[in-house]
Subunit: 141 residues, 2 copies
DNA sequence: CAAATATAGGACTAAAAAGTCTTTTATGCA
DNA sequence: TGCATAAAAGACTTTTTAGTCCTATATTTG
């Protein structure tokens, strides 16, 4: 469904978010140890998320990755969109670029339902909710 | 969502199914011309579908690919399962193999909804319905 | 300012998915 | 029986995704 980049990104963000609750920046090593993601690869993903203004970073001692936005204001959708793009939310299930919504095949509306359900899940849940649920579940914290 | 293999496979099957209505076997060239899929690649996919008993084939003159089953008895799900496997219908959206349904995070049930919606679309529609809808739509036949 | 620390950037390698090409095997028909 | 036809099989190449590693740049602190 989502790419590895996206999965790793989301997991890394939960670690950053959790640390942020104690106003702490986190380094890539700590992030990857907890999130269980490959270090260099995750670093690239996070660099990307900095560029796309999902997170911020600071170099040097006591530096690391952190959120300057409120976690409630960043949805899963925002992250997936930033990393994987909109395709998963818009692309036809049968991969047929030729046909359009004006003259849809019977599946069009049915796939639309699936896609919009996915969109709902992703956009109705913020990173804060991901933290409360996913993070605590997975890391037992 | 689905792999190229899966998309091409489904498209090719519509061509084979349509020809089957006039009791005709179809060769790979005709299939790929209509379905607009790469020939050698599609051939591999169809070989696979023969092995998995979705379709049958016959070599030699007047040979080609054909269905021996009734199109009503083959669902989109059957095809996706044969080509892409069950992952898309079962895998956690966050790619976390560690956690399970017994102690689910808040997203688990939400993703479950998406997955089961996808399953419903795929299993409630047979190749026959794909033909009636998709094929006629796309090829204007 | 210098040394230590941490992210950013760039150039890689590895693995998986997508796609091609050439040879072999089975079938029908003259 | 032999030739034409069409799928099957196998060995490739290409592209994309995943992942690594090394160097440069920014920041803190003594
Ligand atoms: S009409 Fe059918 S094939 Fe075309 S984009 Fe919609 S779902 Fe896909
Ligand atoms: S509990 Fe959450 S993270 Fe775990 S498998 Fe279910 S949806 Fe995925």
């Amino acid at each position: 469904m989502f790419s590895k980049r996206c999965e790793y990104g989301l997991r890394a963000l939960t670690v950053i978010g959790e640390a942020g609750k104690e106003d702490r920046k986190v380094g890539i090593k700590e992030i990857c140890n907890l999130a269980k993601t490959p270090e260099s690869f995750t670093a690239k993903i996070l660099q990307d998320l900095v560029r796309r203004n999902i997170i911020d970073s600071l170099k040097g001692p006591n530096g690391g990755f952190y959120f300057s936005k409120n976690l409630d204001d960043i949805s899963i959708y925002d992250v997936v969109l930033a990393i994987d793009g909109e395709e998963i939310f818009t692309k036809c299930g049968l991969g047929l670029s030729e046909c359009n919504a004006k003259k849809p095949c019977p599946f069009h509306n049915q796939f639309e339902t699936v896609r919009s359900e996915l969109f709902k899940v992703c956009s109705n849940n913020s990173l804060n909710e991901l933290l409360e649920g996913f993070y605590k579940q997975v890391y037992n914290r």
